[in-house]
Every structure is written in C-alpha cells, then in structure tokens.
C-alpha cells in the first residue's frame, strides 16, 4: 500500500501536555533522533528540571527558549508504514489566534487537548471554534492526564458530554474523543490497559485510519491557471500548456471546459503531470493542461465545467481573521487581495460584526478588527473573483489581504454564501 499524507494541527499550552504528546508520538514512531533527545536532556539538566522537558524539542527560537514560550507555528514530521504526518504545532495563548488559523488552514485533522482535571476551558473552546471556522474536516479531542483522575470513565464522559453540547453550535462533521495519558503513553500509540472501559482506538491508530480522501471536493471542477507554459523552441512552437494545481474536481482529457472570465468553451486535449500524461487528475495534483482550441487564457483565469461554474463576483461577504499588529482592519481602506492565483485590490465596505471567540457571541457596531480578532466583513474587489463558499471549497473560498504600504499579509478570509450578488 502506498503511504499517503495527513496534516494535523495541534494547539494548546505546555500545561495541557501538548509538547509531551507530540514528543510521545515522535518518540514512539521512532522519529525522534538520539542527538535531539540528548540535547533536550542536557538542557533540562542544566536548568535543574527533574524531568526531560519535551517542549524544548519544539521551541526552536532563542527568544522562545529564553522566555519559555512558543512564538510561532512549528512544523514536525513523522511517519508510520501507513502514513506520513505533518504536524502544525501552534501555541495556545489567546494572542496567538493568528498562528492557530495558520496551522488549521491546511489541516485535515485538529487535535484539541483537554486536561482531564480541568475539563473544558476557554482555550479548548477557542481551538474548536477556529478549527471549525477554517473548515478542518476532523476533530479529535484528546482528554489528557487521565492518570491524574484515576482513569475515571465518569470524568471522561463528563467532558465528552460538555464538549459535544458546545460542539452542537459548531459545524463539525467528525468529532472523536480519546482518553489518554501522554506522559505514560496510554492510548497514544498503544491501547491502554488502565482504561478497559474505552473501546475506541488509540490516537495514532485513529490518525492512521482516518479516511480523508472523501474530504476533498471531487465534484466541482476548479482549475486556477497558475502559469502558462510556452516553450520558445522551434519543435514546440505551437505548444501552449496551462499549469496549475487542481483546486477541486476531477479533470479528464475530452472534458468540455469553460474558461473564466472570457467564458469561452473548448475541450481538454491532454492532462500532463510530472510523471507524464494521465487519464484523470484530481486535487492536490499539480498538472499542465493543453486544450483543443487556442483561446486566450492567462494566469489568474479559472477553468471549470460549462454546467458547474463558480460565482463570479466583486461583492464578497467573508469571515476574516486579522493578523497584523501594526494597524487594525479599517473600512474604506484599500488592500491587495489574493484569491487562488489572482490578485486584485479590495475595499472593506462594512464590518458586520466581530465574533467573541470565547462566547461565540456576535459583537455589533465595531469599527475595526485588531490583531487576532475575527469578524464578518463585506468587501468590494476591483475585478471579479471566481469564488465558492469556503464551506464547499477550501481552495476557491479562501483569500488573503495584503497591506500595500507594508506588503505584509494582514488577514485570512473565508467567503460565506449569503453574498449580495
């Protein structure tokens, strides 16, 4: 069987035992190297810790080590014979919503850690909300430190009930609970003998078996043209290929396609990949498409099926997470917007409300969004964008805003359906 790829995001503070859990996954899957472990053991000793501080593995920057905090998203890798895993590891403090959004944006699974002694906290609610906002298809609630509550089924069930009640207000497709102890390894890689009442799989088996292929949108053909390949050689003078990464849908030679914004239609002549021509292609493959007829197509255009096209619009409603500390989001300011492979400029016309990420309440009458704040806005772009609601399509439903005076990426945006079309 071929090894596939699964990306998951974790969020939480050192207190939740998140670093210990990641350390355990890396160690038990033999992805931790002896020199890494030695270095962590040495530094732990130098600092007078009685135990090996596994958070030192993930805290890579000088300031982080000095201040004992995690500043940024760290990426970790491990693999088993079934899967390669990419962990986007983000700190859990309130001021780091930005990092959680970043980590969740590409994740197939979100791991939310809950300390069995403390139960649900504002932080776990926040993680669950952000994962849902970013459309992460699967969530695993790891009820950690079960060893400190005498492996109590009652405690676990209590947390499960409370979390499920909260989750009913979110649009979660798949929610799993696992009682574990990262420190002792119970239910992380091997099944716990301390909790015979739990009949689910340990965390790693769950992650190995999770079915993620059906999470991809294979229905709506969306191919944002990224690069036009035109060899300037004599033999291939007439070759014109449209290179890009398939956002969604399945493309085959012979399929009728429509090119936006021109609206012209033709047929796919061939689909080429790095390994040669293929009979079909689907996300996340990077391919080059040639067409039967020569039509004028350039970067930023979108290929789709004639009977299934994205919304073509300049007036867009979206949820945005503001990511810039230097200035808040303000109305009537023009930003650069990047959506798939298309750049335009956009003015924020209105801020409908801000979402209090702890209570999920809408706060109306706000005039700006500060760093780490999430809100619903309406914007107008200088040219039409070819969009789908983020809930239906994580590729064509997403955009970033860039401040043209600093070139910084200032917002992550998710398009919502009820657009003023």
């Amino acid at each position: 069987m071929e090894v596939d790829l699964l990306r998951f995001a974790t969020a939480g503070s050192v207190d939740d035992g998140k670093s210990t859990l990641i350390g355990r996954l890396l160690f038990d899957s033999k992805s931790l190297f002896s020199d890494q472990l030695e270095s962590v053991e040495r530094v732990s000793r130098e600092r007078g810790h009685e135990y090996t501080d596994l958070s030192l593995l993930t805290d890579g920057l000088r300031a982080e080590r000095e201040q004992g905090i995690t500043i940024d998203v760290a990426y970790r890798y491990f693999s088993t014979p079934r899967r390669k895993f990419i962990i986007a590891d983000t700190p859990g403090h309130i001021q780091y919503t930005r990092n959680m959004v970043t980590g969740a944006s590409t994740a197939d699974v979100a791991l939310v850690l809950v300390d069995a002694r403390k139960g649900m906290t504002e932080q776990s609610r926040r993680h669950a909300f952000i994962a849902t906002l970013l459309g992460v298809p699967h969530m695993v609630v790891c009820v950690n430190k079960m060893d400190l509550v005498d492996w109590s089924e009652e405690v676990f069930e209590g947390i499960r009930r409370e979390f499920t009640e909260f989750a009913s207000r979110l649009r979660l497709r798949d929610l799993t609970f696992i009682p574990l102890s990262a420190l002792s390894g119970d239910n992380v890689v091997t099944r716990s003998t301390n909790m015979p009442w739990f009949d689910g799989a340990p965390l790693l088996s769950h992650l190995e078996r999770l079915h993620v292929a059906s999470d991809r949108n294979l229905v709506d053909v969306r191919f944002p043209v990224q690069y036009v390949v035109r060899p300037q050689s004599h033999e291939q003078r007439d070759y014109r290929g449209y290179a890009g990464t398939i956002a969604s849908g399945v493309l085959k030679p012979g399929d009728r396609i429509r090119a936006l914004p021109a609206g012209l239609e033709t047929e796919i002549a061939s689909v080429e990949t790095a390994g040669g021509p293929v009979s079909e292609a689907y996300p996340p493959m990077a391919v080059t498409i040639t067409l039967k007829d020569e039509i004028d197509i350039s970067r930023g255009d979108m290929l789709c099926r004639p009977n299934n096209v994205p919304l073509v619009m300049q007036d867009i409603d979206a949820q945005v997470c503001w990511m810039d500390e230097s200035a808040p989001l303000t109305t009537e300011k023009t930003y650069a917007i990047k959506h798939t492979t298309r750049w335009a400029r956009a003015v924020v016309k209105q801020i409908d409300y801000r979402i209090d990420i702890n209570t999920l309440h809408r706060v109306e009458g706000v005039h700006g969004l500060a760093l780490n704040e999430i809100g619903r806005i309406h914007l107008r772009s200088t040219k039409p964008l070819f969009v789908d609601p983020y809930l239906a399509n994580r590729q064509t439903g997403a955009f970033i805003l860039v401040d043209e005076s600093t070139n910084r990426t200032v917002a992550a945006g998710m398009i919502v359906r009820e657009s003023a079309g």
Binding site: D35, Y75, A213, A286, M323, A398
Partner: protein, 300 residues
C-alpha cells in the same frame, strides 16, 4: 482508499511544483541555489518538471567556498550545462582575496559564505532565491516560512514573519528586499532519499558507501583528502563510509555505512537515530542557536 488519493511523495512533489510556479509567475528575478548536494539536486529535478516542456525559466547560483568536493563541483557544472542553465558562481576564495570577508580561525567558511551570497544576489538583482532547506533539519528551520521574507540586508527576523495561510503565498517585496523560498520545506531526509530512489536520479558517488581513508576527530569520521591531512599523532584507517551531507570538504564528516546503492541508503536512513546535521556537520555544533544566528545574518 483506492482512487483519488496520491502518495505522500507525489503530494510533496505537487506542493513543490506549485511553489516553483508561483515564484516564477510573481517574482521578477528568481534564482535557484544549486550546490550539487542532494537537496538542491532534488530541487532542480522538481523545478524541471514544473515548467516542462519549457526549460527552467531562471538561472542557478552556487556559493563556492573553495573547499568543495571536486566531484560535487563537476556534478554541478555538468547538470547546469545539460539543462542549458546559466550558472552564477559566487566565490568565497575570490571574496577573501578581495578583502570582502576574512578567513575564520577554525577554518570554517560556512559563516563567511553569507556576505558573498548577499553580494552576488544584489549584483544580479535576484529578488527570490530558492534554497533546499527542510524544516526537519533544525529547530530554527522548523519555524521558517516557505516564502521567507528578507530585508534589504538579507536578514531574517523570526519574530516578524508573514503569516502563511493555505497555499496563498505572498512574495511582495519593495526594491532591495527579497524572499528566500524553500520548496522542500515539508520534505524529510527520508523523503529526499526515497524520491531519488523512486525517480532514479543521478547523485555524486560520495553519497554512497565505499572504502575510504578516514581519520577520527571529536568522535566524527573525516575522509583524508586534499583539504584534510593527518595532524601529528593521528592515524588513518580504511573504512566503508558515506556522506549524508555535502558541506565543506574540510569540515564535513562521513558516517560508517555499507549502503552502496540508493535503495540501501533509504533503508539506512529509515533506521537512523541521529539527525544528519548532528551526525556530520562540525559547523552546526557551535551553539544551541548556531543556525538561527546564521539565518538572521542572511544565511540559508
């Protein structure tokens, strides 16, 4: 699981191709750093696929420390010529002679590569440099973006990185600023070797085990060559060794190995218990934050 799922290596390759195309489409003057080391070999291979049947639409550059293995330099020249690419060589030796940089007492030219790289990039007006860095290599790298913004002095500010959400990369820079791009960010050492194996990519033979004359220093094995000669009291012996990285020939250690084919290297890496830098790079052992400090100064 059948149908509509691609293997993890194909997924990594697709992600890298996407990054190459994004940079070629949006940046004015990109350039690929090509040393003849395994990561840059894979990078070049993937870049070629990204633009096929067109040639790679940017030049390649090598910061030549003057201490490189001859076979690696020959590999570099041969591949650049074969793909019809312009090769820019920034010479550290030349920079020392011009007085731009000074030789360090420990003989490492790792740190003094940086000004030479920055000088050449400025002269060529490159606004995007592809590097073969991977996040599994080192703790500071684990937190670096795929599109890593550098100011006009080539400096990296880890606390002031642009958020990178979905695959919507932001390569916008003002004049004089640049980005370093790491298309292989999410590959591990094992992925690199599995890919070389799967695609049957030619590599310098130093990567494969052979009987070589070695001397042991500080617990590491150095091959005796034109840059490494025996000091008083040292003895050398013949051992089957290979290289996991291709740094400067005077400071890159070999590891004991019997993996004389790429497939055997893959097996060995899968079972390895040391990171490649920890095992073979004298220049990374300087301090806990050695890599972070060099990156801040503009190193890769």
């Amino acid at each position: 699981m059948k149908g509509h799922v691609i293997s993890q290596l194909s997924a990594l390759e697709a992600e890298s191709i996407h990054i190459f195309r994004e940079v070629a489409a949006e940046m004015e003057r990109p350039c690929l750093l090509f040393s003849g080391g395994k990561d840059s070999i894979v990078m070049l291979h993937v870049a070629r696929k990204a633009f096929a049947p067109s040639p790679i639409p940017f030049p390649v550059m090598h910061v030549d420390t003057g201490l490189n293995f001859a076979e690696v330099i020959a590999y570099r020249d041969r591949w650049a010529a074969q793909l019809g690419l312009r090769l820019v060589v920034a010479s550290v030796q030349d920079a020392i002679e011009r007085g731009v940089v000074k030789e360090e007492p420990n003989g490492s030219r790792n740190r003094i590569q940086t000004p030479v790289l920055l000088e050449a990039a400025a002269r060529e007006k490159f606004d995007a440099l592809f590097g073969g860095g991977r996040r599994d290599e080192e703790k500071a790298r684990a937190k670096e973006r795929v599109f890593s913004f550098r100011d006009e002095f080539g400096q990296w500010d880890p606390k002031n990185q642009r958020p990178e959400i979905w695959s919507l990369y932001n390569g916008r820079v003002f004049s004089g600023e640049s980005i370093r791009v790491f298309p292989l960010s999410n590959w591990t050492e094992l992925d690199i070797w599995s890919y070389i194996d799967a695609k049957n990519i030619e590599i310098p033979s130093l990567y494969l085990a052979a009987q070589r004359e070695v001397v042991e220093r500080d617990g590491m094995l150095y091959a005796v060559n034109q840059f490494v000669s025996l000091k008083a009291g040292e003895t050398s012996r013949k051992m089957s060794v290979r290289y996991r990285t291709m740094g400067d020939a005077n400071l890159t250690a070999a590891v004991e190995s019997y993996a004389d084919t790429v497939a055997k290297v893959v097996e060995e890496i899968a079972a390895a218990r040391m990171t490649e830098r920890g095992a073979t790079r004298g220049d990374d052992k300087v301090s806990e934050a050695a890599m972070e400090d060099r990156k801040r100064e503009g190193y890769f």
